[in-house]
Symmetry: C2
């Protein structure tokens, strides 16, 4: 009898579904095993109005081939008026802030963190209970970008003590340390950042399908992230940052950033938590913490994972997943 684990209401609190044909490809892959996901707004153009949100969520619902998956919508951060935020609050779960130019389709983001110009928006968000999600990187040297951003997190946390701030896809020991410094700071962690370091991206062959932003860091950074996730630190949630790029855009002379993990995320998480004898903590990491932090009540879903081999497909449509063609130790055996 193979070992198995039942996860209830798994949530992916950082997901890129893109739009159009790609949305049609990837939405069903997430909606199959997850109860819901926080949907990133960095489309072209970004999601900025109530109409954008409504239309995008309708396109997601049409694409997802499942009625037990909730797309938690986010708005692309800019300074919004109080009236606008009041009008939009029921349609969104969070607002995602991108520093300008640091990742895919972030060109319209914030270029200087002028707290005073942001104050009305951030205070209204605090008051209305809208979470602020942040891609925390500067435009500095690639290995330093997240660590350099810590002073911005600190400034936001101090100035808006009632605003829930999520440090998205953290990758460094510095971010891990920051987490406990302020009550209103939270974090998501991807599954790939629990598994890889820069060595996996560029230490042997160069591996475009492991190239992402923030880039995977040093072994001691990964260990710090593992320590948080494996112990299901109450302020940490799973967010895959799964980001599909067509194969030709990854294997070319200039490859875009993003690792595609959505359809194998739960299997990989089981592998990681099992390897460290921490399977008991996976439920909190992948669902309970997020429900408590965001105050959401997820669609009911039970996912049974079994410790039997699963061979990852070489491609999902035009997209090469992480671990393509490799055998994972765990597979999804039932979804109810």
């Amino acid at each position: 009898m193979n070992q198995s684990l039942t996860l209830t209401m798994p949530l992916d609190m950082h997901l890129h579904l893109r739009d159009g044909e790609m949305l049609g490809l990837v939405a069903p892959l997430s909606s199959y095993t997850f109860s819901g996901a926080l949907i990133m707004p960095n489309l072209v153009p970004p999601v900025k109005t109530l109409a954008d949100i409504r239309e995008y969520s309708q396109r997601i619902i049409a694409a997802m081939e499942s009625d037990d998956f909730e797309p938690y919508m986010t708005l692309f951060y800019q300074n919004y008026s109080r009236d606008f935020l009041i009008g939009v609050q029921d349609a969104i779960t969070a607002i995602k802030l991108y520093p300008s130019g640091v990742t895919t389709n972030s060109e319209g983001g914030i270029s200087a963190f002028d707290i005073e110009s942001m104050r009305e928006t951030l205070e209204t968000m605090s008051e209305l209970g809208i979470v602020l999600c942040v891609h925390g990187e500067t435009n500095g040297f690639v290995m330093d970008r997240e660590a350099e951003f810590m002073s911005v997190y600190e400034m936001l946390a101090v100035n808006f003590p009632k605003l829930k701030i999520v440090m998205e896809h953290i990758t460094t020991a510095q971010a891990v340390e920051m987490l406990d410094k302020y009550d209103n700071l939270y974090a998501t962690i991807t599954v790939h950042h629990l598994m890889i370091t820069l060595d996996d991206v560029a230490g042997g062959m160069l591996r475009p399908h492991l190239f992402c932003k923030p880039i995977a860091k040093r072994p001691e950074d990964r260990d710090a992230l593992l320590n948080l996730a494996l112990n299901a630190h109450p302020k940490v949630m799973f967010g895959s940052d799964s980001a599909p790029h067509p194969r030709h855009a990854k294997e070319s002379c200039g490859c875009g950033a993003g690792v595609f993990t959505a359809p194998i995320a739960l299997q990989l998480l089981c592998e990681v938590f099992d390897a460290h004898g921490k399977l008991d903590n996976l439920q909190a990491f992948v669902s309970d913490n997020a429900q408590r932090i965001y105050g959401i009540c997820a669609e009911y879903k039970e996912v049974v994972l079994t410790k039997q081999p699963f061979i990852v497909p070489q491609m999902y449509g035009s997209v090469v997943p992480m671990r393509a063609g490799e055998t994972l130790a765990w597979s999804v055996s039932n979804v109810d």
Copy 2:
């Protein structure tokens, strides 16, 4: 009238020519503008015998379409007997030591630096004046590999004070610092490591054609290298480490390490030295230092470079060069 610069007897003291069809493609590209090059021995199988050297140098000479280019041959390091080294000394310029597994075709290299087992070989090399070239990386975390290797350089330099040791393609401030610590340590620097950092490889898009070993490091490392090269530090030589890989092997799901610069190396060097007002020092960096350090008298050649735009081809045969399709500020206007 465009600014111009005449270089006499340019030398590339670290070059990969490969073999077979690739040799036929790349040898003429180096022999056109260089008087000679130190030819790396990491073929499959590596160059290990007198017959290997003679046959490989004949294949190079047949391929190079020029009679004013000298291939300075190297042997793949293993522990060789005194008799063997005496027999081979006239056919080689140096012996190249690879730690096992750190770069392309280095599997047969040295896996533990057991000084006693290497003593006979290294003492005979000292005595015969055979230079030891070293690929100085450990198997550690990719950004630390060269810095971690410094203790091996130190051990070699101290134990064999009369052996000339060249730290090949140095990339870190640590190696720059090591250079002046021991009289018998020298170094080569590539042109790409004078121009790029990890940011160029993986800071924006992932750029396989800039992926090499050692990987490009931090801005402060590049600045330390620039400081050495631009001032033509007397213990430093140009070595391109130009390494051709067919395009399909670079733009794939696992890309090999190597930047192809041979046909544009002198133009790029002019660009770098000109940008810093140091063109007067380029002759020493690209020829004089190497002739003095190696005690070689290069084939006479004069290369005139002119400050007029040169558009780098998208491909040389199957190989994508650095800066493909871009315009360089300097071009080769005459070779005599």
